[in-house]
């Protein structure tokens, strides 16, 4: 290496020798017994030693509660009566959940919420991403402004939207009243059976559309300019370019956003709990609210564990599809 005249190899040599000296110093500093033990270990064993704490933590925090919940789902266990004998009741909890009309209605409420939030978030998010991608003057500033709702805590968002929805003093009801002529006291966003589900959909869309926009923007920015240039040479119209280039190439990213939001909204709890608490009646009682009521109001721990497992399988299935789509995106 030294016979090379370039300065670069000299620098590399110096760095290597410094590293060698540091390694030698580290070996000298290691106590003899420990050094002998480490020298006897294979690379595979050293790798296992490094990842063991993570695996132990994962087992303790994720896997153990899951296995415990599966076990509880086959019992009549109630957390508020810990001294009562636990009886194994087989698949009875699952059978009751899957034949119960109230739970079925909760699933339908979840489906309504998930469908409309995803549809609105995808449409608005993609449109915003498409506009931001035009790179007009001040687009960076507007991107930041659009991203603000996503950065807020759901607790804060839930509380201030409660104020906005107030029939007497709410700004939202005032604006709706101004444009429609309906008296603000008649616009009961959170206590009307018809409007309450839409009130939650509006808030979730307001909060999470920027997230969809970000993913779509990443997709749009990944499309190389030369494809558009080639399309312009072929005299393709803007409309044609959108349908033949922009949409197909951004589609995997849109699908990713849909799957991300689908999984998240399927488990939605905080926003619904803060805004309506599942009411009026059980109009906005989504699956996670039912689960919370069964577990911590009725104290049917076994039953709620079975319900949690059903939701887990649904989300896990969706996550599998998500991984498949993600692999397809990666391979592009």
């Amino acid at each position: 290496m030294q016979d090379l005249p370039s300065g670069k190899s000299v620098v590399t040599d110096t760095t290597t020798s410094i590293l060698d000296r540091a390694a030698e110093a580290a070996v000298r500093a290691t106590p003899g017994t420990l050094a002998r033990r480490i020298r006897g270990l294979s690379d595979r064993m050293v790798a296992w030693i490094f990842i063991a704490p993570t695996i132990v933590l994962l087992l303790a925090i994720n896997i153990f509660p899951l296995i415990w919940a599966i076990q509880l789902s086959f019992t009549n266990y109630r957390a508020n009566r810990p001294n009562e004998p636990i009886k194994n009741i087989g698949l009875s909890n699952y059978s009751r959940i899957l034949t119960d009309t109230d739970t079925w209605i909760a699933m339908q409420a979840t489906a309504h919420f998930v469908f409309w939030t995803i549809l609105l978030q995808t449409l608005i998010g993609f449109t915003l991403a498409y506009l931001i991608d035009r790179k007009f003057r001040g687009h960076a500033f507007w991107t930041t402004i659009i991203l603000v709702p996503m950065m807020l805590s759901p607790a804060v968002v839930g509380n201030f939207w409660r104020f906005l929805y107030e029939p007497q003093i709410g700004l939202f009801t005032y604006i709706i009243s101004f444009f429609t002529g309906i008296p603000p006291t008649d616009i009961l966003m959170l206590s009307s059976v018809k409007l309450a589900p839409w009130a939650i959909i509006i808030v979730d869309t307001w909060m999470w559309t920027p997230y969809v926009m970000l993913i779509c923007l990443a997709g749009l920015r990944s499309i190389p300019d030369y494809i558009y240039e080639a399309a312009e040479v072929d005299r393709a119209s803007n409309w044609r370019q959108f349908w033949s280039i922009t949409l197909p190439m951004a589609l995997p990213f849109i699908m990713l956003a849909v799957l991300f939001r689908g999984i998240e909204n399927f488990k939605m709890f905080d926003m619904v709990n803060l805004l309506t608490g599942g009411g009026p009646g059980s109009t906005t009682e989504v699956a996670s609210i039912t689960l919370k009521r069964e577990a911590f109001e009725k104290w049917r721990t076994g039953f709620s564990s079975a319900f949690a497992i059903i939701l887990f399988v649904a989300v896990f299935g969706l996550a599998n599809i998500y991984v498949k789509v993600l692999n397809r995106v990666k391979s592009r």
């Binding site: 079925w104 699933m107 489906a111 399988v313 649904a314 896990f316 299935g317 969706l318 599998n320 498949k324």
Partner: protein, 68 residues
Amino acid sequence: MSAATAKKRRSNWPVWLRRGLLENIATAIIGTGFLMLFQPFALTLYTWSFVTMLFGTAMFIVVSKFPE
């Protein structure tokens, strides 16, 4: 790559048991189970949704280990 090498690499695994096809079938089953869970039309479909999803998910996990 020579013809001999290509022949050597050819797997004896049946074509209909390849990962791609079976993963697509498993995904379709999971999707069907998902729709059955959320549909508002028949309680029977809702009742069988969990079994369908569970089967689809288990199938997905198993077939994702199959050769391409």
